[in-house]
């Protein structure tokens, strides 16, 4: 009984499909997936932090924006491809060949730029990207307007 349940447990955690077939170029969900830093350090660190002495009690995102002057630029190519995330084969929309898409990383006060290339085929289809969780203060038109922009720029507040 112990051996049988051990075998069943092993089967349950063993993947029958390679990551390339389930998730394309994404490494999320693999033990080799990298951990994240406390903050990005390829930028100035006034008072030891990218955002200096700012914190949640001495700032107000509606009145005063933290600005590091740093811009993080990402290229997103959107495409359609057959993958099997849970084993069931289907057409998926991918970002840079990945499902789920890549992780955007930025420090508080940075500006994020995402250049989107629509490479969706079979059939051709329009696309836009909506960014959850941001005020989009002074950048409302960057929140997923279809068609007009293939370029998004906003501050992560």
């Amino acid at each position: 009984m112990g051996l049988i349940s051990a075998v069943i447990n092993t089967l349950a955690i063993t993947s029958s499909l390679d990551q390339l077939l389930t998730n394309g170029a994404s490494s999320l969900g693999l033990l080799s997936s990298s951990t994240l830093p406390k903050y990005l350090t390829n930028n100035p660190l006034p008072d030891g932090y990218p955002w200096g002495k700012h914190n949640c009690t001495n700032t107000n995102p509606y009145k005063q924006e933290v600005d590091t002057g740093v811009t993080r630029t990402y290229d997103f190519t959107i495409s359609r491809r057959v993958l099997s995330p849970d084993g069931y084969e289907k057409n998926l929309i991918l970002v840079n060949g990945q499902f789920p898409g890549p992780t955007i990383q930025a420090n508080w006060g940075d500006t994020i730029v995402v250049k989107v290339t629509n490479n969706i085929s079979s059939p051709l289809e329009g696309t836009s990207i909506h960014w959850h969780g941001f005020l989009q203060h002074n950048s409302q038109w960057m929140d997923g307007t279809p068609g007009k922009y293939c370029f998004y720029q906003f501050d992560p507040i």
């Binding site: 389930t22 033990l31 830093p37 903050y39 069931y88 930025a106 420090n107 969780g133």
Partner: protein, 126 residues
């Protein structure tokens, strides 16, 4: 999307995004068509999800597939996350689903909510 900022609660290891999502085997065109089609005096046709994914991965019992003609493999593979004994891990939970609320817990461990969408919250351990 990960925005680093000041934290009120320290941690040892940031394991990164944990995406929780309902998942549909039907083409999204067909789901949207159902949802927006007029049905006088009746609620919209809401699709029933086929699965729930963690970081884009989950197993599925192919015997329960609605369309048996589609290529399907059992035990495709679960998402795996590496944890270290005795360390405090930061988990960045994201509901990337279309419809449902998501419940998340870890058997035998405490989870403390420290932040919501880059906004500090009153810390609570559940």
């Amino acid at each position: 999307m990960v925005i680093y900022g000041p934290t009120q609660n320290d941690y040892d290891i940031d394991v990164g995004p944990i995406l929780l999502s309902d998942y549909y085997h039907r083409r999204y065109e067909s789901i949207v068509k159902d949802l927006v089609s007029p049905r006088p005096k009746l609620p919209p046709l809401k699709p029933v999800s086929d699965n729930n994914l963690i970081n884009g991965k989950m197993n599925f019992d192919c015997n329960t597939a609605t369309d048996k003609g589609v290529k399907c493999a059992n035990n495709a593979g679960l998402a795996k996350i590496r944890f270290q004994t005795g360390k405090r891990h930061r988990l960045r939970l994201v509901n990337t689903g279309a419809d449902a609320a998501q419940k998340f817990s870890i058997d035998g461990h405490n989870m403390t909510v420290i932040e919501n969408d880059f906004v500090a919250v009153e810390v609570s351990t559940i």
